[in-house]
């Protein structure tokens, strides 16, 4: 079936609220998933497994990051970016505003690709961003997101290389000056100057979004029903008394 952006955002918010996310997190998690799907990143297909994991654990409380050699170190505690991605991005961005640049390592974080929307938000607020990670089931393949301040869409690339990347970690750099991310890339991510195996350009993301907006977003009945089931947890049983609370 096809659904609209508004209806998916509403459903995802209620579904995430239904599994215990608080107000800030269910809004941000819904935003991350729907943005990725509307921009052609095909996350709905892999979502059931992510929802299983989310349903089984409570949202993490991210401790104030430790600092190592100027880098911020976060430990997401084997949790999804949906539960903590925005909080971490905001902390890195705030540090970048104060210092000019901030690099962070976020350990033990799942669903790293879904961070894309929050990285785009940092760019909208004036930061130049670089992020990369490696998936455990794809050794030798590094995924990177790069975007300049003010850009509406990032460039998403995948590189074949043997970079020294901590498994299940996501590296995020925010700089208030474009030289900041360039210098960081030169020092730490030489793969960025190589030819990527695959690249999604900003115009492709934009086209996918327009397509989704115009024609609706495909979602399987199974996923839809699952989300509705999660969302039902926020609904209150209807009784004669409650009907009076609607003017009956």
């Amino acid at each position: 079936m096809k659904a609209s952006q508004t209806e998916l955002l509403t459903l995802f918010k209620q579904a995430f609220e239904g599994i215990g996310f608080d107000a800030g997190r269910y809004e941000s998690a819904a935003d991350m998933v729907v943005w990725a799907e509307m921009h052609g990143l095909d996350v709905f297909a892999r979502l059931p497994a992510k929802l299983d994991r989310l349903s089984e654990s409570s949202a993490p409380l991210i401790e104030k990051p430790s600092s190592a050699g100027g880098d911020l170190m976060f430990d997401a505690g084997d949790k999804s970016a949906l539960a903590c991605g925005e909080l971490i991005c905001n902390a890195v961005f705030a540090s970048a505003v104060n210092r000019g640049i901030c690099s962070a390592t976020i350990s033990r974080i799942y669903d790293r690709q879904l961070m894309t929307k929050k990285i785009v938000d940092c760019c909208a607020r004036g930061a130049h961003c670089l992020s990369y990670w490696q998936d455990a089931d794809e050794p030798g393949l590094v995924h990177a997101i790069t975007s300049d301040a003010g850009a509406q869409y990032p460039q998403i690339s995948s590189y074949q290389c043997q970079a020294e990347v901590e498994p299940q970690a996501l590296y995020l750099v925010c700089a208030m000056d474009p030289e900041g991310t360039r210098e960081y890339a030169l020092a730490h991510c030489s793969f960025i100057n190589k030819n990527p195996l695959k690249r999604i350009e900003p115009n492709e993301l934009s086209a996918a979004f327009q397509q989704s907006l115009s024609n609706g977003i495909e979602i399987t009945d199974t996923l839809w029903d699952r989300l509705r089931c999660m969302a039902n947890n926020v609904l209150v049983e209807s009784t004669e008394q409650s009907r009076k609370g609607a003017g009956a």
């Binding site: 096809k2 401790e63 902390a91 115009s214 209150v236 609370g245």
Partner: protein, 571 residues
């Protein structure tokens, strides 16, 4: 000296948010010429939209399908309505109903046979159906049976319905829900606002759908009159058609919207307040403008005299309004135009009149100076993204709350009465409802609509952290410790950039009247004749007095405010 003054920017005497965003005042507002219905009709009339019936298949009982092709300024749309049998006992205005007299949709472009078949299956199901992405409005309505049958009988007998009879209930159908903005698979607002220029205005498509139901209601009544008595039936006269509006029932479902879209509300209120301030400052006081003011006041007084509602509170408010209108007319008569100003009037109102009257006079004033007011109609698209200012320090955030949300901090939430209600979604069609916190289950699933309490909780968290942490710490770090505060912090920071937007009331308070929220939004829509059925829902009338389709292309005075009952045949 004169040149220097001329180059100084004009500072409009805008009312403060403290005054305007008070819930009692918001619940006393009336339609204005900036209301969405009025603005829509101006566009329809000035751009001469064309409405063509492309399918009218109604059987002898008035059931069937009607399609209108609407050629608007730049695009073509289709209005599709399905009229079905509905037993009297199934006629229910509540959201939880599942059958209606008529169901309808507004679509982009022409409707193919394939889509029509799809719509025939889905549109009558309303919330339980699915719409295609070229659908922009989904709605339904029920007959006002007594009125509808009376009108059919009169037309069938060769008579026009009595205007005095229609003054009591000025419509044949009531809409009970109007959905847009991406619901049930429909086009998102982002699509509508970017691809449908005619509807890139607040609720414009939804208003047009209601307007078309008004047209259909007359069409169906005339059709049934002809079936009933082919030899004697007469068509309805245009004066009667104009006086018929479309009814509307609005319940709590409208309330959360006002809380969740504060930037949008800020824009609506700002547009209205800017217009009022412009008129008060720049509107010339002369015999012509005073005469026009008095004439509109007289029409308004008659309109309210003809407004009959059973609710004793509204009756008292309307009576007080009429009494105060008479007093103001007397007071104005003493004016010396050379020395008077409209600000004197507003000052006099603030000191002597009810909120209901103050806001009505604001509406009247806007009618006196259309040229000044219509230039203020700038409901551009609002980016409703609440973005966090992550780098703001905790001390700055605390200061911001104290400066902008003092009204919220003044509420004592340790008092049970201040926590009396909670808002929640029912499992019945996810209908928003209001529960009594200390008497009903479900408070653990409360919707976050009580902004004042959320602000208070955030403020308390900030104070607690201040005792042991550096107050220069960025808000982003505060949120790592208090992730549940992210949403309210974003709202506080975002709304600090806006003039209006946050309604200054505790929505959990025992004395809070949800009706005030509904009336506020309905006044922006442009409805009239508020008829409260409880403190939770209200009936009202849309488009009463508005031009009819056959008026398009004729001179349009845009003076259909405060409609009054004339006699058929009168000019």
């Amino acid at each position: 000296m004169t040149d220097a003054l001329a180059t100084q920017p004009t500072i409009l005497p805008m009312r403060s948010p403290e005054v305007v965003m008070d819930l009692k005042r918001l619940g006393s507002m009336h339609q204005t010429r900036l209301s969405f219905m009025r603005a829509l009709m101006r566009r329809v009339m000035s751009q001469q939209w064309q409405f063509t019936p492309v399918l009218v298949e109604l059987d002898d009982q008035g059931f069937g399908t009607v399609i209108y092709r609407i050629e608007a300024n730049e695009n073509t749309y289709s209005f599709v309505a399905f009229a079905d049998y509905l037993a009297d006992e199934d006629r229910n205005d509540r959201v939880i109903a599942d059958k209606w007299d008529v169901t309808m949709a507004l679509c982009i472009g022409d409707v193919s046979a394939d889509q029509l078949a799809d719509m025939r299956t889905n549109v009558p199901k309303q919330e339980a159906g699915r719409c295609r992405s070229n659908t922009i409005v989904l709605s339904r309505g029920n007959k006002s049976s007594r009125n509808f049958n009376y009108v059919v009988d009169e037309l069938a007998a060769g008579r026009q319905p009595s205007m005095q009879y229609l003054a009591n209930v000025g419509y044949l159908y009531r809409t009970t829900a109007v959905y847009g903005s991406g619901k049930f698979g429909m086009a998102d607002w982002a699509k509508v606002s970017s691809q449908c220029a005619e509807f890139a205005h607040p609720f414009a498509a939804e208003m047009l759908c209601c307007y078309m139901l008004r047209h259909f209601s007359v069409q169906q009544a005339e059709h049934l009159a002809r079936i009933k008595s082919p030899d004697t039936a007469v068509p309805m006269q245009d004066e009667v058609k104009r006086y018929l509006g479309i009814g509307n029932s609005t319940g709590l479902g409208m309330a959360p919207y006002l809380i969740r879209h504060p930037q949008l509300i800020s824009q609506w209120v700002l547009t209205r307040e800017r217009a009022i301030a412009t008129v008060v400052q720049q509107g010339e006081v002369n015999p012509a403008s005073v005469h026009k003011f008095q004439a509109i006041m007289a029409k308004a007084a008659q309109h309210f005299a003809e407004t009959t509602v059973p609710d004793p509170v509204q009756v008292a408010r309307n009576k007080c309004l009429q009494k105060e209108l008479v007093e103001i007319q007397s007071w104005i008569k003493k004016w010396n135009c050379d020395a008077a100003s409209w600000s004197q009037l507003t000052q006099h109102l603030a000191e002597n009149c009810s909120l209901e009257t103050q806001e009505l006079i604001n509406s009247v004033l806007l009618e006196v100076f259309p040229d000044l007011v219509d230039a203020c109609e700038q409901y551009g698209c609002v980016d409703e993204n609440h973005q966090l200012s992550a780098e703001m320090s905790r001390a700055e955030l605390k200061q911001l709350i104290e400066t902008r949300y003092g009204w919220a901090l003044d509420i004592d939430f340790s008092n049970h009465d201040c926590n009396h209600y909670f808002w929640y979604r029912s499992e019945e069609k996810m209908e928003p409802r209001l529960g009594e916190r200390f008497a009903e289950p479900g408070a653990d699933k409360e919707m976050p609509l009580t902004i004042a309490r959320l602000v208070r909780q955030c403020y308390d968290c900030l104070l607690a952290d201040m005792e042991e942490l550096d107050e220069a710490e960025p808000v982003a770090y505060f949120l790592l410790r208090h992730p549940g505060m992210a949403s309210i912090v974003k709202r506080i920071q975002t709304m600090s950039q806006e003039c209006y937007g946050d309604i200054r009331a505790n929505l959990a308070d025992k004395e809070m009247l949800p009706l005030d929220l509904l009336r506020c939004k309905l006044s922006f829509f442009g409805v009239s004749k508020f008829d409260p059925k409880s403190k939770l829902w209200v009936r009202n009338t849309m488009f009463q007095g508005a031009p009819i389709l056959s008026d398009i292309g004729k001179p349009f005075a845009d003076d259909w405010y405060f409609p009054v009952a004339g006699e058929p045949g009168a000019t």
